[in-house]
Amino acid sequence: MTSDNTATGSVGVVHPQTARFTAPLTLRSGAVLCGYELVYETYGALNADRSNAVLVCHALNASHHVAGHHAGDPGNTGWWDNMIGPGKPLDTNRFFVIGVNNLGGCHGSTGPSSINPDTGLPWGGDFPVVTVEDWVDAQARLADHLGIERFAAVMGGSLGAMQALAWSIRYPQRLRHSVVIACAPNLSAQNIAFNEVARQAILTDPDFHGGNYQLQNAVPKRGLRVARMVGHITYLSDDEMANKFGRQLKHGKPGYGFDTEFEIESYLRHQGNKFADYFDANTYLRITRALDYFDPAFASGGDLSAALKDVTADLLVVSFTTDWRFSPERSREIVRALLDNRARVTYAEIDAPHGHDAFLLDDPRYHRLVAAYFDRVAAETVAEVQA
């Protein structure tokens, strides 16, 4: 899977693979996907007893391309390359790491831009709404496909962390550890509000065509741009934005118009444009909805402790002090519910200035902690093999 380790600590050139599933998958909405494909990458080697696999779940805009780079495209490094690789916190010399593009995604797995076998046309707006639990169910089938009965760990940040948490609830016997970073037990009204603004930007874009824009050879780029701009505001802390951009003017003096006046505008527009060039609007709608719906305590009347009662995995929960999107208080709710169940949990609150985005950055305290945790996971893996 992995070849020419060009850079130190990089898994090098990686190759996406596709797994095809023919057994129907019933989604939470009641919709049934009769067949689907998942695109994934793997790094490191699966050991003889298949006990060293770690699943890395992606957040909103990311993909199966977690580490390394694709052949002929050295600039396109994986989204969590600073975390995963030889000698890195999640060390591919010891672990077999899997990244997968979720169902409904736009990086190769079956999603709204795939062909609907019933019509021979792109799914578009007809692609069903998917949930975190649906993703986890699909990931479990990928694990079956790869012959992995039990993961050493399932790991994620933000929406990826919600999947790691859902794994511990839904398939308690299939993972030994869950690494839950910058998570929340559900979205607050404010979180949903931001998502709704983003969705409205897309839904009201004249190029959206009810989700069937592909057939019209259109792309609702304006909507996607605004959606991404709104999202980006929530990923950074107020202080980080002030440090990076402050009130800095793009041209040094006011232009008394509506072009990019302030640096922050320039940054947001840049992020929006970049995003609109590669991301699919239907996917964005569905992923934000998956976030909105995620609420494991819903079935137990809001009682998160009851929702987590069957968790048997050990957990590492990490939050960042300046994350106001999913604040430390939200992680503490998860921790509290785990403590009620006497789960084996460790909780760390990293004092980092970067806001929600901190989970993607390489703060040394954060990375040292994750590395130490995976040392523990690795030691247990060895002990289990010897036993």
């Binding site: 403590l339 009620d340 949990v345």
Partner: protein, 198 residues
């Protein structure tokens, strides 16, 4: 915390004696997790440490101890009433700003509490004060201006504190050079270990 340095502290054995096998234990200000690791190995306990310091949280993870990063001064809101058999506060009481609150919190979340603290009434401390200086010793290695120990007390003080609040002392061990002291504990004891309940 103070004086842990990875080596087993003299109060560990005395603490372990109070703790029943397989108990569920919360260790407040757990430092690098040495005590909990010792209790896991010697008494088969389960439970968590609570630490505020990043370096100590990391050390706990390395020690295989489950730790919750939190500031004790903010109370123990993460922990439900009566959820632990024992709550330990080892050599941290004297550094707490809100002493009474943490003792109450210990008895809220635990069925029993164990505190250990350096006995300020030890004769060497008294001698240094008689000489007109704030005590500095192996147990109290700080100068008056840089000490984290803002609420030092004596064996007699702590017992009065408990009596006034209806806290029942289950057992007391007072140590000097790591050995239990029987006579004149407030004068000869360097380190006090109290097991108490509400």
């Amino acid at each position: 915390m103070t004086g842990a340095n990875g080596s087993q502290r003299p109060d560990f054995a005395a603490i372990a004696q109070c703790i029943s096998r397989d108990a569920h234990v919360l260790d407040l200000g757990c430092g690098d997790g040495t005590l909990l690791k010792y209790l896991q190995q010697s008494r088969g306990v389960t439970g968590y440490g609570v630490e505020i310091d990043d370096g100590n949280v990391l050390a706990c993870v390395r020690n295989g101890v489950n730790v919750i990063q939190s500031d004790l001064e903010r109370g123990l809101a993460e922990f439900a009433d009566g959820s632990f058999d024992f709550v330990v506060l080892s050599q941290t009481l004297q550094a707490m700003r809100n002493t009474e609150r943490i003792v109450r919190e210990m008895l809220r979340v635990g069925r029993a509490g164990i505190v250990t603290f350096p006995n300020f009434g030890h004769w060497r401390n008294r001698l240094q004060i008689l000489r007109g200086r704030m005590p500095v010793s192996d147990r109290l290695p700080f100068e008056w201006f840089d000490t984290p120990n803002i609420h030092l007390c004596t064996v007699a003080d702590f017992e009065r504190f408990c009596a006034e609040r209806g806290i029942r002392i289950v057992s007391r061990t007072v140590l000097s050079d790591g050995r239990p002291v029987q006579a004149l504990p407030n004068l000869l004891g360097e380190l006090a270990v109290y097991h108490f309940s509400g």
